[in-house]
């Protein structure tokens, strides 16, 4: 069992084979593919649940590989050995008309069953282990509710109650404590979605009218990619999210910031306003154009951390105030909650109280930069086809945003750290 379960052996083999193939094809650029270390790799994982699942995968992989080698060699041998090589061969007397051999048959059936038992045992074990938080972790487990909507995720922290406002609510970025088992209740409000953070755990579906859950644990602080894994309509492909695992201190700090109401920016005289950086945004976005910068790609965790602190030097209080007014006058607040700033919104739309402190917007699709924010709020439907922000209220409500409006709204949203 030890031998089979050693993930690194096979991984090394696979990688070596792939690297060779890669050289041959001269396409070495996509390193993540050849090393199987993509952001959503199920091979290069972190956390006990994903590891248990990977272990089962390796067992199946090894067992079937061995069978394939054996059966394949016999098959290859038979084909090569008994091939008719010449025309004369083809017309030779037919071979002996044998009909089979029960002993061989039974032996092979027995061998197959044996091979399956080897797979079945770890499978059963892992089914039990991955199902729910292990008994010894129950007491310390952290509870989160995840609810899926077309096409974004809502995260609630029942243990972090805010006076008068219920539990702490966040959208599209799930922040969890490192080293603690996290028990996530999965709900869906419209159609079926699925919660999948490959590096931490396999997926479990979020099904309307069904109380599913999953557990996972991150072993190192970091930034993990997640994606909806059940087809849920037009924008299923771009229904993503992130999980950020923080050490205890950082986590507490984050909770404290998040439970506070939305940040206020003091008014400053017009003359002091730094203007340039929000002046105008690109508007010639292509459909499906990528929404992140290479720097962010290189170190998203750092990017996330950087978002936590207000960027006082670049803030324009007047513009922010204007944005805040627009948020109300353009009826954004009828959907979105900004706790402490205005009364309105509902739980069925992303909470924007601390939207400025997220590393991504639009359900993990775009990096949270002013440029991308502007892109999103000017044309959400071009970013996410069928988008509900567009379909049920935005453009049909005749929300028309001039470039100046957009700039002001962006400034305001950016200030919500």
């Amino acid at each position: 069992m030890r031998l089979i379960s050693s993930p690194s052996t096979l991984a090394r083999w696979v990688r070596a084979a792939l690297a060779l193939g890669g050289l041959a094809l001269l396409t070495g650029c996509d390193l993540n593919f050849w090393t199987m270390k993509g952001h959503q790799s199920t091979i290069d994982v972190d956390g006990p649940v994903a590891k248990a699942q990977l272990h089962v995968f390796y067992v199946t992989c090894w067992v079937t590989l061995v069978i394939f080698l054996i059966v394949g060699s016999v098959l290859a041998y038979a084909i090569l050995k008994f091939r008719a090589r010449t025309d004369a061969d083809e017309h030779a007397e037919p071979p002996e008309q044998g009909h089979g051999n029960p002993l061989i048959e039974l032996g092979l059936i027995g061998a197959s069953v044996l091979a399956l038992v080897i797979i079945a045992i770890p499978t059963i074990e892992a089914i039990g282990y991955t199902y729910d938080v292990p008994a010894e972790d129950k007491a310390t487990a952290f509870e989160v509710n995840a609810t899926a909507y077309q096409w974004w995720f809502k995260f609630e922290y029942p243990s972090e109650q805010i006076a008068g406002a219920g539990p702490l609510v966040a959208a599209n970025e799930l922040v969890i404590p490192v080293g603690r088992a996290v028990h996530i209740n999965l709900r869906a409000m419209d159609v079926i979605h699925s919660f999948w953070v490959p590096k931490l755990a396999g997926k479990v579906d979020m099904i309307p009218n069904r109380g599913n859950f999953l557990w996972l644990k991150a072993e190192t602080p970091g930034y993990y990619w997640g994606q909806c894994a059940e087809y849920c309509g037009d924008s299923h492909a771009v229904m993503r999210f992130r999980v950020i695992a923080l050490g205890p201190r950082d986590f507490n700090e984050w909770v404290n910031r998040q439970t506070a109401p939305a940040r206020e920016v003091a008014k400053v005289a017009a003359a002091d306003q730094p203007k340039a950086q929000f002046a105008s945004y690109r508007s010639d976005w292509k459909r499906n154009e990528k929404g992140w910068s290479p720097e962010f790609e290189l170190n998203p965790f750092q990017g996330w951390q950087a978002q936590q602190e207000p960027d006082a030097n670049h803030e324009n209080p007047a513009l922010i105030a204007q944005g805040r007014a627009l948020f109300q006058s353009k009826t954004c607040f009828s959907c979105h909650v900004i706790r402490g700033h205005m009364v309105g919104g509902s739980g069925a739309y992303p909470d924007l109280t601390h939207v400025g402190a997220r590393s991504t917007i639009a359900a993990g699709l775009l990096e949270n930069t002013p440029e991308q924010l502007a892109r999103w709020i000017s044309h959400p439907d071009q970013v996410k086809p069928g988008n509900k922000m567009y379909a049920t209220g935005y453009i049909p409500n005749n929300i028309k945003l001039t470039p100046d409006d957009v700039a002001a709204l962006v400034a305001y949203l950016r200030s919500l750290k």
Binding site: F33, T64, G98, H99, V204, A229, V238, N288
Partner: protein, 646 residues
């Protein structure tokens, strides 16, 4: 069931052909459009099934190529999300219901009656009805391409509540529901017919354990069809009611449970995948012995394992639902049951190898495809076993690993075997001989293209790429594999194109094939090519499993026997042939009309369609299953035109 002692005459007796009334007009055209529309000949029906299926295979293939082109690069903009979603839905639905299933039905129709020594299926007109209802279903399913509502886009398993009116308000989903419903009716009707035919129309001496394996697999597949389709029929009725009458089957606000759809769908869906593979296994089990010049190794076990696969197929449906939170017991149970299927499947593989062992392998094109099948199906089966391990599947479900798995079993499995079958029976069906060089060339291009396309998808899946995504970002490590896969699909496209080109060329210009082109073992090869309308001049008497092989080695004995039986037949008034009929087509047109009415929620049209359907069936019953007799001269020419009588 001692068929040996039965009469040699299996046609029906009837009175002198009555003069048909002017209302119950019986078409008798033997050429031209009318002959095809009113045919009840299982060979013509099989040919039509095959032609439609191949057409839809190309349609599904073009859809697949568009999918691949969109995924060639990250953030590609060739297709919109809506178009992409429509394409994969229609690709999956088309390939499964309109390409592979009817292609299987084509072989069932054409080959199976020949293999059991019958002159037709048990209910020739029902057979025509199946064909035309299949066409009606195909039309409804695809009509959305030409209408403003668009084609269906809820995925090939249409999970509720995405198919509800709230989330899919256009009629596209209605096309999907009604299209599948009609296809289900067609499939069940056809399957019932095949079951009765195989059980009841076997030539004397053709005991069950002498049936060719392909016929056995036809029988098992037919059982799977009649037992699995009702589940999806009910499921479809439920969504249809939800959409049209506001019922609550999957309406959460009134307590509906969307998960129920998944169960009902997969109770059908899993047996369905064996409906797709068992005919393929049957074909391979015919080709390997022929080209090894040796009987199938362990025939009884191969048959029995086919039956166990069919039976176990009904016990594993929830392996498509490992991620739906079923609880540990159910997950473990379905996991183990799924693994168990590897045993009978493995038995087949072992026996195929056993068949090759010690043979004289003639490496002709059908054999190449059949061997390709074994290799590719084995790989697909192994990734299936990886899925069966539920914890591993939690990472694989709905990722490209699944896509890789099922394309290996569906293309490397079903399609390879069906392509092999086309090559194998081409000389019999068409009477012409396919060039071995071009055939092999197309095989190699397809083989390479297929592997280049789908092998990298395993790694894409393991690297976390979810399926059904119209776009992906370039930073996930998926670019190279997607690029390779697209190149592979293009190669595959060239291969398929080549294959079709060769076939079309041969169809028109190919060299005439001689009788018993491959030195065959089963009964159909005893026929001239293409087989005459009445199939067997004399219903053969079967003495051994590989009936024709036996016949070839006992020529005199058989000739004597046949002479006696020919006389008996003549004494009965010649060879009985069923009349053609227009009413199956009429009934199917009613189904088409009714389907449209239901799609557009217009009761009047639906009722009108129902009335046409009913009238068609009534007239069909009233005209009766009559037929005429033909008489042959020594050369097998028809000496007396039966239609001259009236």
């Amino acid at each position: 069931m001692d068929a040996t002692v039965k009469t040699h005459f299996i046609g029906k007796e009837d009175k002198a052909p009555a003069k048909p009334s002017f209302v119950l007009w019986r078409p008798s055209a033997k050429t031209g459009l009318m002959s095809w529309l009113t045919t009840v000949d299982h060979k013509k029906i099989g040919f039509l099934y095959g032609s439609f299926a191949l057409f839809f295979f190309l349609v599904g293939g073009v859809e697949a190529l568009l999918i691949r082109l969109q995924l060639m690069h990250p953030n590609n903009t060739l297709l919109t999300a809506q178009q992409y979603n429509t394409l994969f839905t229609m690709h999956g639905t088309t390939m499964i219901f309109l390409a592979v299933m009817p292609l299987g039905a084509a072989f069932f129709n054409f080959i199976m009656p020949l293999q059991i020594g019958a002159r037709d299926v048990a209910f020739p007109r029902l057979n025509a009805f199946s064909l035309w209802t299949f066409v009606a279903g195909a039309i409804i399913l695809n009509i959305g391409w030409f209408l403003p509502d668009g084609a269906p886009d809820a995925g090939w398993f249409g999970y509720a509540p995405l198919t509800s009116k709230l989330y899919n308000p256009t009629h596209a989903t209605d096309f999907w529901i009604l299209g599948l419903q009609l296809l289900g009716v067609a499939s069940i009707a056809a399957a019932l017919n095949f079951i009765v035919t195989i059980i009841n129309l076997r030539a004397p001496g053709m005991t069950m354990m002498r049936l060719p394996v392909f016929t056995w697999m036809t029988l098992i597949t037919s059982f799977l069809i009649i037992l699995s389709f009702p589940a999806i029929t009910i499921a479809l009725v439920e969504v249809m009611f939800d959409r049209q009458f506001g019922t609550n089957f999957f309406e959460v606000s009134n307590g509906g449970m969307p998960i129920l759809w998944q169960h009902l769908f997969w109770i059908f869906g899993h047996p369905e995948v064996y409906i797709l593979i068992l005919p393929a296994m049957g074909i391979v089990s015919e080709i390997l012995p022929t080209f090894s010049r040796k009987p199938l190794f362990g025939y009884p076990i191969v048959v029995f394992s086919g039956a166990s696969i069919g039976f176990l197929g009904f016990t594993v449906w929830s392996h498509h639902m490992f991620t739906t939170g079923m609880g540990t017991v159910a997950t473990a149970a379905f996991s183990l049951a799924t693994m168990a299927i590897a045993v009978p499947t493995g038995v087949k593989i072992f026996n195929w190898i056993g068949t090759l062992w010690g043979g004289h392998l003639k490496m002709r094109t059908p054999m190449m495809f059949a061997l390709g099948f074994i290799w590719m199906f084995m790989i697909g089966g192994f990734s299936g076993v990886m899925h069966a391990a539920a914890p591993a599947d939690a990472q694989q479900q709905d990722s490209y690993f699944v896509i890789a798995h099922f394309h290996y079993v569906l293309i490397g499995g079903s399609i390879f075997a069906l392509l092999a079958g086309i090559h194998y029976w081409f000389p019999l069906v068409i009477g012409r001989q396919v060039s071995d060089f071009w055939g092999k060339l197309s095989f190699w291009v397809i083989f390479v293209g297929f592997n280049v396309t789908f092998f990298p998808m395993h790694f894409l899946g393991l690297n976390g790429m979810p399926r059904r995504t119209f776009t992906y970002d370039g930073n996930m490590g998926w670019n190279t594999a997607n690029y390779i896969a697209t190149i592979g699909a293009l190669i595959l496209g060239v291969g398929i194109g080549l294959y079709f080109a060769v076939m079309i060329y041969t169809f028109f210009k190919g060299e005439k094939a001689n009788r018993d082109h491959w030195d065959g073992r089963t009964l159909e090869w005893s026929l001239p090519n293409p087989p005459p309308e009445y199939n067997y001049r004399v219903i053969p008497t079967i003495h051994a499993r590989d009936a024709y092989w036996y016949e070839k080695h006992h020529r005199e004995e058989i000739a004597q026997e046949n002479a006696v039986h020919a006389q008996e037949d003549e004494a009965h008034g010649g060879i009985h042939m069923p009349y053609q009929s227009i009413y199956p087509l009429v009934a199917s047109c009613g189904a088409l009309l009714g389907g449209f009415g239901a799609c557009y929620h217009t009761l009047v049209v639906a009722l009108a369609g129902g009335l046409v359907l009913l009238s068609g069936i009534y007239l069909w019953a009233m005209e009766g299953a009559e037929g005429y007799h033909i008489h042959l001269d020594a050369e097998g020419r028809i000496v007396e035109d039966p239609h001259a009588k009236h």
